[in-house]
C-alpha cells in the first residue's frame, strides 16, 4: 500500500492510499507540462519567495537544518549553484549557441524518483527543488519519521504567487509536480514499480538500502544519482592548534559534530591532531570546555536507543581499557575517546568523537578510500591546505572544507554536480545548413 501525502498540489495529512503508482503517475504526467512553460527565472523567484516565508516562520526555523535551507534557497545562492553546474542558467530556457551554429539546451529528464534517507530531515527539500529547477516532476519516497517535517516545509508553496515579465506564476504549480509518498522499504514490488517509472533515480541512503534499490529494474535511459554511505572526519594542523584561533576552530568543529545528531554523511567522527607544542591532553581539555560552553545552544535530543547503547558501550570499552582514555559528560553531551590506533573508527554518533594524534597531517592519505566524503580542516596556511586537498581528493575524498562548514549542503556533493546530472544535455548542430 502506497500512502500519498501530496498530490496535484493538495496535501493529505492522513495520506491517500493506493495499491500502486498508476494514478499518481498519471497526475504527475499531466502536470509536468505546466512546469515546462515556467522560465527558470520564475522558478527561482518562487523558490526565493518560499525561502523568505520559511525564514520568518519561528516554529519551522527551530527544526534542525532549516535556517541553512533558507539561505541555500535564496535566489542569489541558487544562481551561483546553477552557474557552477550549467555555466549558464539560460540553457534551461532554450537552445544557446556555443559556437559555429552549435546550440545546446538542458532539457528535463522527466520523472525523477527520489528515495530519501531519514538521517537528515531537510534532505528531501534539497533533492526535490534541484529537480524542480530542472523542470522534472517528482515522486518522492520519504521515510515515515521525516514526512511531517517535509509536509510542513512544502506547505508554504501553495499560496506563493510571483509576477515575472507580466505573467503570473504560482507555487501551487510547483507543488503539482511533487508527490510525497511512503511505503514499507521492504516492499520490493512497490520499489520495483517506482523504479521502472523513473527517468532519473535519486537515491540517498545506507549500503543495504542502496544495494536493494540498485538491483531494481529500470528504464535503459534512466539516470542514476547515488548518494550512498559516506564517512567524514576532521584534521587540525600544528599551526592551527598553536594559534590563538584554536578555540574558534574547536567551536566550529563542535557545531559540525552536533548537527543532525552526527548522523549525516558529512558529520565528523575522528579528529586527527598534528603533534604540536600543545599536548593532546590540553587540546582535549579545551575541546571539553567548548562542548560545555555550547550545551545550552545545542541541547541534547533523544538519540535513539541504538545510538545510546553504542555510546554507552564504546564509553565502557575506553573507560576499562588501560591504554585508552575517555572524557565524557554524565549524559550524552559529549564523548571524547582517545586511542593510539591510526584508523578511521566506525561512526558512533550522538556527539562521540575519536581524537588521534599524528606526526604529520599528510599521513591521513593512507586511510582514505572513496568512502570518505568530507574532510573538515583547520589549517593556517592556504598552500598547505591546497596541497592536502590535492592529495586526499586524489585518494578518494569528495569535499574539503573548513571546520564548521562540514554539514552544510553544497554543490558539488559526493563528487556530483547534481543539477547538471538532473538535466538531459541536448544539442542542435546546424552549421552550414541554413
Amino acid at each position: 500500500m502506497v500512502k500519498c501525502y501530496t498530490l496535484n498540489g493538495e496535501f493529505y495529512e492522513q495520506g491517500l492510499c493506493f495499491h500502486d503508482f498508476n494514478h499518481i503517475c498519471e497526475v504527475l504526467k499531466n502536470n509536468e507540462e505546466i512546469l515546462q512553460h515556467f522560465p527558470v527565472e520564475s522558478i527561482l523567484l518562487l523558490i526565493n519567495e518560499y525561502s523568505k516565508i520559511i525564514s520568518k516562520d519561528r516554529d519551522i526555523l527551530k527544526e534542525e537544518g532549516v535556517p541553512f535551507l533558507c539561505f541555500y534557497l535564496k535566489k542569489a545562492n541558487l544562481e551561483k549553484i546553477i552557474e557552477l553546474n550549467l555555466k549558464n542558467k539560460s540553457y534551461l530556457d532554450g537552445f544557446i549557441e556555443v559556437g559555429d551554429k552549435k546550440f545546446i539546451k538542458a532539457q528535463k529528464r522527466g520523472l525523477t524518483c527520489h528515495w530519501i534517507a531519514g538521517n537528515v530531515g531537510t534532505l528531501g527539500i534539497y533533492s526535490i527543488l534541484q529537480s524542480i529547477i530542472c523542470r522534472n516532476s517528482n515522486l518522492v519516497r520519504i521515510p515515515e519519521n521525516c514526512i511531517d517535517l517535509i509536509i510542513r516545509l512544502l506547505k508554504p508553496f501553495k499560496d506563493i504567487k510571483i509576477d515575472y515579465k507580466e505573467e503570473s506564476y504560482s507555487g501551487k504549480d510547483i507543488l503539482k509536480n511533487i508527490c510525497i509518498v511512503n511505503f514499507p522499504s521492504s516492499n520490493l514490488q512497490l520499489n520495483g514499480h517506482m523504479s521502472k517509472l523513473a527517468d532519473c533515480r535519486v537515491f540517498w541512503g545506507g549500503e543495504e538500502a542502496l544495494n536493494s534499490i540498485r538491483s531494481l529494474p529500470q528504464k535503459t535511459t534512466c539516470k542514476d544519482i547515488i548518494f550512498g554511505p559516506k564517512y567524514s572526519f576532521a584534521i587540525f594542523d600544528k599551526e592551527a592548534i598553536e594559534s590563538i584561533q584554536l578555540e574558534k576552530y574547536l567551536e566550529n568543529l563542535v557545531t559540525d559534530i552536533v548537527s543532525f545528531n552526527q548522523k549525516a554523511c558529512s558529520s565528523p567522527h575522528v579528529v586527527f591532531l598534528e603533534k604540536s607544542s600543545i599536548s593532546l591532553e590540553e587540546v582535549t581539555q579545551r575541546f571539553i570546555k567548548v562542548f560545555k560552553k555550547l550545551y545550552k545552544r545545542y541541547p541534547v535530543k533523544f538519540l535513539g536507543e541504538t545510538t545510546c547503547a553504542d555510546i554507552i558501550n564504546i564509553g565502557g570499552e575506553y573507560a576499562l581499557s588501560v591504554d585508552k582514555m575517555l572524557h565524557c559528560s554524565k549524559g550524552f553531551e559529549y564523548t571524547i575517546l582517545i586511542g593510539s590506533e591510526f584508523k578511521l573508527e566506525e561512526p558512533i554518533g550522538g556527539r562521540t568523537v575519536f581524537l588521534k594524534e599524528i606526526d604529520d597531517i599528510f599521513e591521513v592519505k593512507q586511510l582514505i578510500t572513496p568512502r570518505v566524503q568530507t574532510v573538515g580542516i583547520a589549517l593556517k596556511n592556504q598552500e598547505r591546505a591546497i596541497n592536502l586537498a590535492n592529495e586526499i581528493t586524489k585518494a578518494g575524498v569528495d569535499r574539503v572544507v573548513k571546520v564548521g562548514y562540514m554539514s552544510l549542503y553544497d554543490s558539488p556533493w559526493d563528487g556530483s554536480l547534481v543539477i547538471s546530472d538532473m538535466v538531459r544535455w541536448c544539442s542542435l548542430n546546424i552549421n552550414g545548413m541554413i
Binding site: 540517498w204 545506507g206 554511505p229 565502557g316
Partner: protein, 371 residues
C-alpha cells in the same frame, strides 16, 4: 573486613521488607567496601580513575560508575584471585555472538544461591514440589562453565523433590519427549507442581510441538516460571499476555500462574518475578536504577529508560552496577499493593538495535572489510 553481617542479614531476611530510604543507606555502606575490592582489577581501576570516582566520598547509589553489560564479553572482569574462581558463567551470546564471561568464586556462588532461594521462596512458598523442566538435562551439566539456562534450573531445583526434563537433545535440536511429559501429568497432575523453562524454548519448541500434536494437559495446580529469550519473542511480536494465556490453556491453569522472571547471567541470584499486580520487585540485597535515555539520570516514577541492576552478592566480579540493554519503566516505590517494599518496575523490551542511519551509516565497505 567486609560488612559481612549486614549483607548476610539482607540475604537471609525476607527480601522485600526494607523501605527505599533505609535500603539505600545500607547498600551504600556495603558497596563502599566492595567497590574498593573491585580496584584489584586493573580495568576497573582504570575506569574509576578516568571517571574521577572516589569511593570514599560517594554517598548516592546513582554515582557508582556502571559497567555496560557488554563489557563482560570484552574484558576479564574478575575481582578475586584467579585461583579462587570456581566457575565461569557464560551468557547466551544473543547480541554479538560472543558470550559474557562471569567469574564466580565460592563465596559469590553461595550467596547467589541463597539469594535466589530467598527470592523464589517469597513467591513460591517453602514447599518442595515435582519440577518439570522444559529443557534437556544437558542444559544443567556439571562443569566449570555454566550457561544462564543451567544456572536458572539449578536455582529453581531447590524447590523440587523430583526433576523431570521434558525435552531431549537430538544433535543440536531440542525435542519434546511427549511420553515423558504425559507420564509426569499422570503421576503429578493432581498435585501442586512447578514448571521452569527458557521463555523462547517454551514458545518455539514446547508450545509449537504441543499444538502440532494436539496434546491436552491437565495440571491446574501449577506454577510456571519462565525467563530469558524475550528479545527473540518480541521480534515475533509475541506479547507477554499472549504467552501466558497460551501456556495457561495448555496446562489448563490460569494465566496468573505463569510467572515471568527477569534476570541475567551477569547478575545471578538477583531475579525479578512478577507479583500478583504484575510488577517486578527489587530484593533488599539488590537495587535497580532506571536511567533516562537522554540524560542517563534516574527516571521519575512512570518514566522509562535503561535498567541498571545493582547487586551486593558478588565478591568475584563487579556486580555493584551493571547497565543492561533492557528498557524498563519505574512504576513506584514502597507502595505496591502486593505489600513488597522498595522499587517496583516493568520490563518493557530489549534496546531496539535497528535504527535509521541513512547515508552516514558506517565506514566499513560491506562484508569485505568486516570479514
Amino acid at each position: 573486613m567486609e560488612n559481612y553481617n549486614l549483607l548476610e542479614e539482607l540475604i537471609f531476611n525476607k527480601p522485600f521488607t526494607l523501605r527505599q530510604s533505609d535500603k539505600e543507606k545500607i547498600l551504600v555502606k556495603i558497596f563502599k567496601e566492595q567497590l574498593q575490592n573491585n580496584k584489584k582489577n586493573i580495568n576497573i581501576r582504570s575506569m574509576y580513575d578516568k571517571l574521577g570516582f572516589d569511593i570514599k566520598y560517594f554517598n548516592s547509589l546513582e554515582d557508582i560508575p556502571y559497567i555496560p553489560v557488554n563489557m563482560f564479553k570484552k574484558f576479564d572482569l574478575y575481582t578475586c584471585n584467579k585461583e579462587e574462581i570456581v566457575r565461569v558463567l557464560n551468557s547466551s551470546a544473543t547480541t554479538i555472538g560472543i558470550p559474557s564471561k562471569i567469574y564466580i568464586d565460592k563465596k559469590t556462588s553461595i550467596r547467589q544461591s541463597q539469594a535466589l532461594i530467598a527470592t523464589l521462596r517469597n513467591f513460591l512458598g517453602n514447599k518442595r514440589r515435582p519440577l518439570l523442566v522444559i529443557d534437556s538435562e544437558d542444559a544443567n551439566k556439571n562443569g566449570s562453565v555454566l550457561t544462564a539456562r543451567g544456572a536458572a534450573i539449578r536455582g529453581i531445583s531447590n524447590f523440587s523433590n523430583k526433576i523431570v526434563y521434558a525435552m531431549d537433545k537430538d544433535g543440536e535440536e531440542l525435542k519434546l519427549n511427549i511420553e515423558r511429559l504425559k507420564d509426569f501429568e499422570s503421576q503429578y497432575g493432581e498435585e501442586e507442581v512447578l514448571v521452569y523453562g527458557f521463555t523462547y524454548i517454551i514458545w518455539s519448541k514446547f508450545i509449537k510441538t504441543i499444538q502440532e500434536n494436539n496434546i491436552k494437559l491437565n495440571i491446574p495446580k501449577i506454577k510456571i516460571v519462565h525467563s530469558g529469550g524475550w528479545k527473540k519473542l518480541n521480534s515475533q511480536r509475541v506479547t507477554k499476555k499472549e504467552f501466558s494465556t497460551t501456556l495457561g490453556n495448555i496446562f489448563k491453569t490460569k494465566p496468573s500462574n505463569v510467572l515471568d522472571f527477569y534476570g541475567m547471567v551477569e547478575q545471578l541470584g538477583v531475579v525479578f518475578i512478577d507479583c500478583q499486580c504484575g510488577y517486578k520487585h527489587v530484593p533488599d540485597f539488590a537495587e535497580i536504577i532506571i536511567r533516562d535515555l537522554t540524560t542517563l539520570e534516574e527516571v521519575n516514577i512512570g518514566e522509562s529508560g535503561l535498567i541498571q541492576v545493582m547487586s551486593t552478592l558478588s565478591s568475584s566480579y563487579p556486580a555493584q552496577a551493571i547497565l543492561t540493554e533492557d528498557i524498563g519503566t519505574l512504576v513506584g516505590i514502597d507502595d505496591c499493593k502486593c505489600g513488597r517494599k522498595g522499587k517496583y518496575f516493568k520490563f518493557e523490551s530489549r534496546v531496539e538495535k535497528a535504527e535509521i542511519r541513512g547515508c552516514g551509516d558506517t565506514f566499513a565497505e560491506g562484508e569485505k572489510r568486516n570479514g
